[in-house]
Symmetry: C2
Subunit: 296 residues, 2 copies
Amino acid sequence: MKIGLRHIRYFLVLAEDLNFRRASEHLHISQPALTRTIQHLEAELQVTLFDRSQNFVRLTDAGRAFREGGQRVLNGMEATIDLTRRVSIGEAGALRVGYTDFAIADALPELLKQFHQRHPGITVRPHHGVTTTQLQELRDDKLDIGFVTGPVRQPGFHSRVVQTDRPICIVPEGHRLASRASVTLADLADEDFVHGPAEAWAHFYDYLFPLCRKAGFQPRIVQEAFNSVGILGLVSCGMGITILTESIYDFATGGLVPLPLSDIAEEMVTEAVWASENLRLPAQHFVDFLEHQHKS
Amino acid sequence: MKIGLRHIRYFLVLAEDLNFRRASEHLHISQPALTRTIQHLEAELQVTLFDRSQNFVRLTDAGRAFREGGQRVLNGMEATIDLTRRVSIGEAGALRVGYTDFAIADALPELLKQFHQRHPGITVRPHHGVTTTQLQELRDDKLDIGFVTGPVRQPGFHSRVVQTDRPICIVPEGHRLASRASVTLADLADEDFVHGPAEAWAHFYDYLFPLCRKAGFQPRIVQEAFNSVGILGLVSCGMGITILTESIYDFATGGLVPLPLSDIAEEMVTEAVWASENLRLPAQHFVDFLEHQHKS
DNA sequence: GTTTCCGATGCATAAAAGGTATCATGAAAA
DNA sequence: TTTTCATGATACCTTTTATGCATCGGAAAC
């Protein structure tokens, strides 16, 4: 015979009442059933849990130890069942969210904050990554929702625009264009550019390069940095200029001058993207939340 | 039907194997029995724990949550059973030890340290208290072992001497006797004494006062402090002199002069004392440990 | 097409848990 | 002192639960 939760439940009630008859009534069973269950429990443990006589029933030291442990086990069981149920209906769980520098600098923090208010049981696990990486992680089911540089038009994915940015040119203080109120792309044709690695930043390049080509030049990338902070750092060192968004520029520490680009009409979009099938419940809730955001 | 530990055990093995037949073999039951147990578990939880087809079995998100919680519950159960067994044979448990200033200043720390080495599962719970208090707590089963000022000759108690102290006179710097190499009790007949309250320190007074009476005087207590540190403090303030033990004097901060008492032969004893019946196992182990100390 | 492996189901059996009646014992009441 | 009452333990039987065996239906491998 093995010890089960039933033994613990019966034991705990008896440890509370210290009276077999009353305890058996509280448990809605007969007194002999309780007696036998406690006997089986003690036999299995090979430990006397109660000192009994006709006059009194009291816990032994071992009984007290078992009461504490048993209570913990029962509480743990209840909590586990509750959590499991909540996970099964999507009230609890983990949501793996990928984000780019562009997303985290602007729309994402407020979005996640509001989502957490609506679904406090869901833990958001943020994963930083460029667009290419995130799309691959979505395919590999390493990510539930990605926040990437759009537009995303891949089969098997759905997406929704959450943020649009008008790009600006950023030059170091003292640069020949630093005193201009605004610039055009053509003004930048002969400049040295600082940017991210071509593979990782492919989606941003897909947005920027066609615009430059239309303005009649191909940007000359002379320095590469891993992320936007690194890019801004290299620009402030005078290594070149760059084109990023205003929200990113807000993170810069100084030594930089932002210049509006007067001839760019197309905005850069950041989209939430997710696999169109087999969405986990937390991800489904997030998608619903995004739709709800749109309406309100 | 209710969820039991059996369900969890079966579930965990299946969650490991992800194959009903192999899991049932590991559990030494038939495959249909496992299938039905998992079905019952899912029905009771109203949660699907496994996605199953003929080709694969895999955990759902809820199943993963249940696996973590279930593992914790099982571990907790195992730990509880183990602890209960250890308590029942006295390998684990709590030992409530009372001690006086005299005991803690000398023999007790080393004694407890060695006891802990021998019985690492037993947690010693120290309770500070004067002799009178400790004896009452022993009667009320609030204490397992007392370390008190002896000799204790009370019915229902056993005791064992663990420490003997030769008392010394302690005077403030600059006192008229401070330059003496030693003093006799008679030299102190006209001094003001600092000591503890008569009720609480009764056992110490029972030792000291007969000696003074034999020397022809009754000490004049002019100040009372709660404990020996307080007494030493008042002495160093010049409120009077006192008679305590050398080990207590070692705790003094300064401004005091110890003087041997050349005419006292009787030493002050500190004894371990315990109820002679119904000893808890940890206390029994401590008593055995004390006897063993004696032999070695 | 046949075989093989998978999880699910029907049915009979074994094991566990429960209920009723009753006993032995010690304390309290008469 | 005797009687009564309440307690926990036991005996015996019933109900519930768990298990094993045989088998099904379906997908993949050969």
